[in-house]
Amino acid sequence: MDRHTATLQKDTPALQLEQALQLLGASGRLPPLGERGSAGYLQDLINALVDLSSRDALTGLANRRAFDVALEREIDRVARSGEPALLLTLDIDHFKRVNDSFGHNAGDQVIKAVATALLDSVRPMDLVARVGGEEFAIILPNCAAAFGETVAERVRRRVERMPVQVGPGQQITVSVSIGGAFAPQWVRSTPKLWVERADQQLYRAKAQGRNLVLLEPTAVSVVSSEEKRLLFDSFQFQDHD
C-alpha cells in the first residue's frame, strides 16, 4: 500500500476534515459557516461535499455518478406517473482533431463552451451531465413527444453557431451529434436500456454524417411505407372466401 492510500484510509478525523476543507477550497467553494464541529457546520460541510462529488470538475455539470442516480430516479417517476421523459446523448464531432490540432487546453475550452451551450438551451429542470471525455447527456423530464425534436435541434444549432476561443486570436466552431429516446411511459424499464436506445440513435447520427439529431421514432409513426412494402413483398395472400 503506498503512502497516499494509507493516508486516505487511516487519517484521524481531524486530518480528514482538513482534507475535506482543502478539496472544497480547491474547487473554489467557501468553507462551511458556523462554529467548527457544530451541527450547522457539519451539515454545511456535507452539503458542500455532496455537491462536489456530484459535479464534473472541468465543466461544473452533473458528473457520471449524479447522472446515473438521476436517470434511475427518472425511470421510476415515468413508470409511476406516465409522464413522457426524453433522454439525449451527445458527442462532440471530431473532438480528437481539436486536441490533435490545437492541444489539450483547447480541447478543455471546447468542452467548457459546449457545456455552457447545453445549459443555455434547456430548461432549469433538465439535467445536463458530462458523462465521458467529450460525451454529454441530458435528461428532460416531462417533455412531450411533439417537442423532442425541437429541443434537440435547438441544442444542436446552439453549439454549431457558437465560436470557441482556443488561443490568442484563434476561434473555431464545433458541432455535436445527438441521439434521443423517450422513456417508455408506465413501463418499468432499466437505465441501461434507455441509454442504449438513445445511443443507437447517436450511432446513426454519427454514421449519417454528424452534426445531426436523430430521435427514436415514437409509436405513432412506427411502421413506414417501405417496411409495409417489404412485409407484403413476395407474400402470397390467399383470397378470402
Partner: protein, 271 residues
Amino acid sequence: MSSDFSPLSQDLGPAPANPRPTNILAVTSGKGGVGKTFVSANLAAALARAGRKVLVLDADLGLANLDVVLNLFPKITLHDVFTGKSKLADAILPAPGGFSVLLAGSGMVEYSRMTPEIRDQLQSVVDAVTPLYDHVLLDTGAGISDVVLYTVSLAGEVLVVATPEPTSLTDAYATIKVLATTQGRRRIGLLVNQTRKPGEGRQVRMQLQHVVDRYVNPTLSSPLRLDLVGEVPLDSAVRDAVLRRQLLLEAMPGTPASVAILAAAEKLLVH
C-alpha cells in the same frame, strides 16, 4: 465512425437480470379479432391438460370478452377487486378447461386509459397470483396502447397472435417493433392463426423476421428473434366452438385446430 467515439451504454456494464417472471406469458396481437382470446383460453386448457396449474387473467380491461368465450357469468370480477369490494381470492374462478380465470367483466371502460391507480392495482394482482401458478397468461387488449404495453411489460414471455392477412401482419409487426425497442425484448413467440395451407405459419414468421432483420435489428444492441410457437389452421370447428361458447379442446378434440393448439402448448412447455 471515428474511433474516439465510445457510447455511454458501452460501459454501463451488463444489463441487470430480467426481473420479469418467466412463468408469465402475455398474449397480444396488435390487431383485434385475430383469435387472441380464443388462443389464450385453449392454450391454457392444453397446459392444464399437461398437468400444469394455469391462470388466465383477462387484461383486456376496457373490452373484456374472456367471459363470453368461456360462457361464464362471474358475480365477482377484477373490477370488484380493484374497487376494494371483493378479495382477490374470491374473484378467481375455475374455468371449463381445468384452469383458473380472473375476469375483468364488463363496466371497466374507465380502465381503457392508464393511470397510476390501475398500474398499481394490476401490478399487485399479478404479483399476488404469480407465485401460485405454474403459468399465468395475460390476455391483453388489441393495439399498442399504454395499457397493453404496460401489461406486456409485466410478463417474462410474449406471444403475438397474427393471421396471414396484410392488416394483421402490419399490426403484429408494429407490436413486435415497439416491444423490441422500448422493452428490450430479444425473443418473441409468434402464433399464426387461421392458416389456409400447411407451412403458412412458417412463411409468415420468415416474412416478419425478414423485415425485422432489415429495419429493427440494425437499431438494437443485439438482434430480436421470432420463434414460431404454432400455426393453427382455419377450421370450421373453431367457429362452431366459439358459437357454442365452448373451448375447442373440450367441444371438438381431434380437429386440426385442436391438434395444433396442443402442439403449440407443447412447444411452450419445452421453452
